[in-house]
Symmetry: C2
Subunit: 404 residues, 2 copies
């Protein structure tokens, strides 16, 4: 349990001026985040717990499909970025000068690290039976103009996963396994209904790339959703004036404003070829390896969820994302009882925040709404008189008394 | 539980050539880590679990003294580093060129971030009753020559904590609270006996700085331990030819080869002054704030522990650090029983690794030793005949049969 009185961070009375959007404004007002520089945010305790919860949902779903967690370096070797021809062509690549005229990449993505890494472990076809690994790690992008919020940063938290396969068919099969895992992630984040698996313009090795686009009014992207089969298309792959669904050839569509929350790519052998990755087949032949890569923006999702669900009173977190499932407002001398309730909640897998600050009920109730915690408990002389506490959901206006 | 057959990483038959020391060599041989470039390591699944376990010990002890976890940015604002006069004076500071002639610091330490951050939250003397926060975060140092192992890297994982106080006395009191928490960390890491709280040369605001130096043959530092009171002195603060203990004035000492595993500093108002941090006292007066900072090298400790406890068969992890408490070697058709045992272990707070690979007993037994897991279980026809499994500690040579 966390006692609010012990946190060195505070809420503010109103949204700070200059916030680009309401979600980020509320995160600032609630004291969840603070900016170091445009596009780089500090997470205070409650903000970090929120971020870690999103991270944990993603981790559990990646583990569930048998991917192995790793942690790759933020620093990249220049020679590897040169080998893949991306040292000069990727304009958002941060290039870091080191001592003695060395130069490093600050990795915005990790093909240049993970491909040579796996080259040290892959020899035989048996090594490719289940060859998938992911990390949850800080990424860097040299953005010209970073929006001053969590959704396009110079520094941000990503889950990036990479898979290595013997054949295109095996990649295609695994790709759908990941697709399904991503659907479960969006389900748990409360974003299933508003997130569209979208065809976007492809790369060297596939007709399309595949994006998960989440509907949000302040989104930077546009998709067109087929009214017949529901397939979403990034606007970059269609003629807006004469839409034709690539799945069912229907010609009527809905336009939606969205933000990209995840993407998955079939890389083919683009990177494995460069780093000379091969495997020996059962019959002794040396063969090419095909790869897939799969990203989810963890900190971006936090900004997106904050913005999407906020109401006029503050943030509204889905239960699995919220820094706590319950906030217990203590009025008067009932801290021990609050701690007992918190312990009980924690023993059944919940997490409780206790508002034991020496402030009035008004501020506590306002902050409970601002924080966006799904369940609010009030413990006061009045509720104790009724032998209980008041329980109210964040999204409802009336509470009920629950017997202690 | 983790099934070894599902991990895309492998052990090697012998220590790779070119390893600087046995500990790093064994970490490479066991497939726990791989280098991206000198001083920057990737952690594979078992390596990451080891790192996370060290992290968790530190986290629990910092939480226990009421410090609040946060996550600060790796990118630093140049103007803040200029304000503290460290943009040009800190030679290991990575300076990162951004788009449009911007320039950032890649933070090797976070006073330049956390001090202005807390300036947004500290107003009154009440805000300084418990004002301490820490993060576990990736740090960067522009080393001229990085040793090719975990102990002095260009990129490494640190726990850094910062505290803000009204008076020097309050800082002094909290400083000892942290000192005691660090002692508990070293106890849990199995390093209590070999780690010395050491006086080293001070900064602007204190006579000494305080280091935790751990005895290790390949250490880069030297300390002198008073034979009378046990106080350790970094060689930089004494005259080696005529030692005088700064605590008890005794003149005989032991010289030890050590490596710095943690340090704690009294910063005084060096940083709070620069960023104009003040608090309003109970009587309305504006007063200065004094700060402390407290580091522990998480990845460095992993390298240090690997090196320190390794024996001729491989790594030897302390139980709380080990990626698993038990490794279950399955010979023959007993995987289901192994999973049952693993579940039972996990229900009592342990973590199990199951070696279900299609390799012979010799390699499995050798790898179990190499991995350094404290307890080895063998499950085979032979042990099942005796109605049980064999349990052997990593540090013992004979196992015993335990009934299932």
């Amino acid at each position: 349990m966390i006692l609010l009185s012990t946190l060195p961070f505070k809420t503010q009375k109103s949204i700070p001026s200059g916030s680009d959007n309401r979600g980020t404004g509320l995160l600032l007002q609630a004291g969840y985040i603070r900016m170091t520089l445009a596009g780089a945010y500090n997470y205070t305790t409650l903000g970090l717990r929120t971020l870690r919860n999103i991270e944990q949902i993603v981790r559990e779903e990646m583990n569930a499909i048998g991917s192995s967690e790793v942690l790759l370096t933020a620093l990249g070797a220049k020679e590897n970025w040169e080998k893949t021809d991306r040292w000069n062509s990727v304009d958002i690549l941060f290039k870091l000068p080191g001592a003695e005229w060395k130069e490093y990449a600050l990795n915005p993505t990790h093909e240049e690290v993970v491909t040579p890494l796996m080259g040290e472990f892959i020899q035989s076809y048996k090594d490719l039976e289940n060859c998938s690994m992911y990390q949850i790690q800080t990424k860097f992008r040299n953005e010209k103009r970073a929006k001053s919020w969590l959704m396009r940063g110079r520094e941000f938290l990503m889950k990036d996963m990479y898979s290595f396969h013997r054949t295109q068919e095996e990649l295609d099969t695994y790709f759908e396994v990941v697709h399904a895992a991503y659907d479960r992630v969006f389900e748990r984040l409360g974003l299933a209904d508003s997130t569209h698996y979208t065809f976007a313009s492809g790369g060297d090795f596939s007709k399309y790339s595949y994006e998960f686009q989440t509907e949000i009014a302040i989104g930077e992207d546009e998709i067109f959703v087929c009214e017949s089969c529901g397939q979403a298309h990034n606007k970059e792959i269609i003629d807006e004036n004469s839409f034709v669904c690539v799945e069912c050839a229907h010609t009527i569509c809905d336009r939606r404003i969205v933000s990209e929350s995840a993407n998955i790519f079939k890389l083919g052998s683009r990177f494995s070829d460069v780093f000379g990755l091969k495997y020996q087949d059962a019959d002794g032949q040396s063969k090419n390896i095909v790869m897939g890569c799969y990203g989810i923006g963890i900190s971006r999702l936090m900004g997106l969820i904050a913005e999407k669900f906020a109401d006029d009173k503050g943030l509204v977190w889905p239960i699995e994302v919220s820094p706590a499932s319950h906030i217990i407002i203590v009025i008067g001398d009932h801290l021990d009882q609050a701690k007992s309730i918190a312990k009980l909640l924690e023993s059944s897998g919940h997490a409780a925040l206790i508002d034991d600050r020496k402030t009035g009920f008004g501020q506590k109730a306002g902050d409970a709404d601002l924080f966006g915690i799904p369940n609010r408990i009030i413990l006061s002389d009045k509720t104790i008189e009724k032998w209980g506490y008041e329980l109210k959901k964040r999204t409802e206006s009336e509470g009920i008394i629950i017997a202690i």
